[in-house]
């Protein structure tokens, strides 16, 4: 585990690189893209585990914080879809440089999945794209986070703050331009550039993900939709349970390990 800062000195990004371990070492690197900041705190542990799993399978792995999140430079409210997509490209470049790996795959969770698709559309070359509960329609995503925000505010006795349209969300500033931009995100039917294969992992039953996979299939892109084995539990909270149980992490690690074996 090697934490580091990289990128432009005025907007430095923080990342943690895991070098390959064990006897098998591949020339394959995996870039892990966090979800948006509202879901960052609950994802760090799962990403650390996933990174360790992949490194022990012989892959180079980098997980990093977008501008304005985690330890990276900037403030939450300064981020935008365009800057986060740039960050993914910057991180991919860094990962290629430090690893020397010839092949790169990307895994993005939730908003990170949507941003990874955008980064590939913008020219980032990835052998495999793994999307973990990706955001497909920004409007639904913002509504869902607002629902959780309502619940948190109710539980924390800030009932007067509940309801959408506020300039903060789940404990973080959420300025109007950011809200508008996220609500306008729509990845349905959009192809992720020159990716060879897309694997979608769903922690719960989400019709939008089936539609996304169908659209990839119609366009002739090799894709798979995996439903996590935790299915059957209530939908709410399925994501959290999925990453804690580890089975979805194992399945994703296997998917990415296939790349280097192929």
């Amino acid at each position: 585990m090697k934490p580091m800062f990289f990128g432009d000195s005025k907007r430095k990004l923080y990342g943690v690189y895991d070098a390959p371990r064990g006897s098998e070492r591949h020339s394959h690197a995996v870039l892990l893209c966090y979800p948006g900041i509202q879901e960052y705190g609950t994802s760090v542990w799962g990403f650390r585990r996933l990174s360790a799993m992949l490194a022990s399978e012989g892959h180079h792995v980098l997980r990093f914080d977008y501008f304005g999140t985690g330890d990276s430079a900037g403030r939450v409210e300064e981020g935008s879809v365009a800057t986060w997509v740039d960050d993914i490209q910057q991180a991919a470049l860094e990962l290629r440089e430090i690893s020397g790996a010839r092949q790169l795959s990307i895994l993005g969770k939730r908003l990170g999945g949507a941003l990874a698709i955008k980064a590939c559309q913008a020219g980032l070359l990835a052998k495999r794209l793994v999307l973990w509960d990706p955001v497909v329609k920004g409007r639904d995503y913002v509504s869902e986070l607002e629902m959780w925000d309502t619940r948190r505010n109710l539980l924390l006795l800030h009932a007067e703050r509940r309801g959408g349209g506020r300039s903060e969300l789940l404990g973080y500033p959420f300025p109007w331009p950011q809200r508008r931009e996220l609500q306008e995100l729509d990845l349905s039917g959009e192809l992720p550039g020159a990716v060879r294969k897309v694997a979608i992992f769903a922690s719960s039953s989400q019709p939008a993900l089936q539609s996304l996979q169908d659209s990839y299939t119609r366009a002739g892109l090799t894709s798979e939709l995996h439903r996590a084995s935790e299915l059957g539990e209530s939908e709410a909270g399925a994501q959290g349970r999925a990453q804690l149980s580890g089975s979805i992490l194992n399945e994703m690690a296997s998917e990415l390990t296939e790349v280097s074996a192929a």
Partner: protein, 295 residues
């Protein structure tokens, strides 16, 4: 931020981010400030509060280190270390202080504890003479007689009734039952060893006599803290008030979830640090310093 940040690797497997002021902003002789994990959270702190606080402090001339203790965040666990978590955490905090002494020459430290990380801040502070300041964010709290006497006042809080009704009868409010699934509520994942109020009183006397400056910030909400001076009803040592600044935000919650509450906490911490350790020579040179002093 006008300063700089870099990764600091120390001990056998620890990592953190060292946040330093720009050379022209540096305050000479001030202590270094340390933050580490709250519970099992990453070192950035709840809602990134430690990152924001560290950068504000750098603008004011203070150096800080926010780091992950063994096995958490970006620090690996040592396979050979079989000590209990609480004991290892104290050793990690001491290791961080020793590293800053060796690498940056710091001889004095301020420890910032938040909720469960107060345990290590307090324990290391009591034992280590180089600790000259401790911040207790949502630190130790014990229910008192007056707390119980005031408890019925909670029935007058509209938000409590709204919470009760919405959680119990979500359909009446047109909300899905899954929204209020109680199994989603955070569960206790570890148990803390609280000092007894008597021990805490002794510790506070000791710290105060040693000249350690302290800031304790409490919130209302669902905590066990119900009124401003409750601290002195469980720490039976009024003389501690000479060393301790006590702040109570009744409308805030335990994690300072709302941005405005967090801002208030950060303003208070920075103003306190500047006042207690900034020194006469530490003349504020920027608007930020002036703002901090008002906090």
């Amino acid at each position: 931020m006008s300063g700089s940040e870099r990764v600091l690797a120390f001990g056998s497997s620890l990592h953190g981010v060292l946040c330093e002021p720009a050379p022209q902003d540096r305050l000479e002789g001030v202590p270094a400030v340390l933050f580490w994990n709250v519970g099992t959270n990453h070192h950035v702190g709840p809602h990134r509060v430690f990152v924001e606080l560290a950068r504000r402090l750098a603008n004011l001339g203070f150096t800080s280190l926010r780091f992950d203790t063994s096995g958490l965040g970006d620090s690996a666990a040592s396979r050979d270390d079989t000590r209990p978590d609480a004991e290892r955490k104290l050793s990690d905090v001491r290791e961080a202080m020793q590293t800053l002494t060796k690498q940056r020459g710091f001889q004095r430290f301020v420890l910032v504890g938040f909720c469960s990380s107060v345990d290590a801040a307090h324990a290391v502070g009591v034992q280590s003479p180089e600790v000259v300041g401790i911040v207790y964010l949502e630190g130790y709290q014990y229910r008192t007689r007056r707390f119980y006497l005031q408890y019925p006042q909670r029935l007058l809080n509209r938000n409590r009734w709204e919470r009760l009704l919405r959680l119990r009868y979500p359909k009446l409010f047109g909300e899905p039952e899954s929204l209020h699934d109680r199994s989603l509520d955070p569960e206790t994942v570890f148990v803390r060893d609280y000092p007894t109020p008597e021990q805490l009183t002794l510790d506070m006397r000791h710290l105060s006599q040693r000249g350690v400056r302290m800031l304790a910030i409490y919130s209302g909400g669902d905590t066990n803290y119900g009124y401003e001076d409750q601290f002195y009803d469980f720490v039976k040592a009024p003389e501690v008030a000479r060393s301790l600044e006590l702040v109570f935000y009744p409308s805030a919650d335990h994690t300072f979830f709302l941005v405005e509450h967090r801002e208030r906490v950060m303003d208070r911490v920075t103003a306190w640090l500047l006042r207690e350790f900034g020194g006469a020579s530490a003349s504020p040179s920027s608007g930020e310093r002036a703002r901090a002093a008002e906090g």
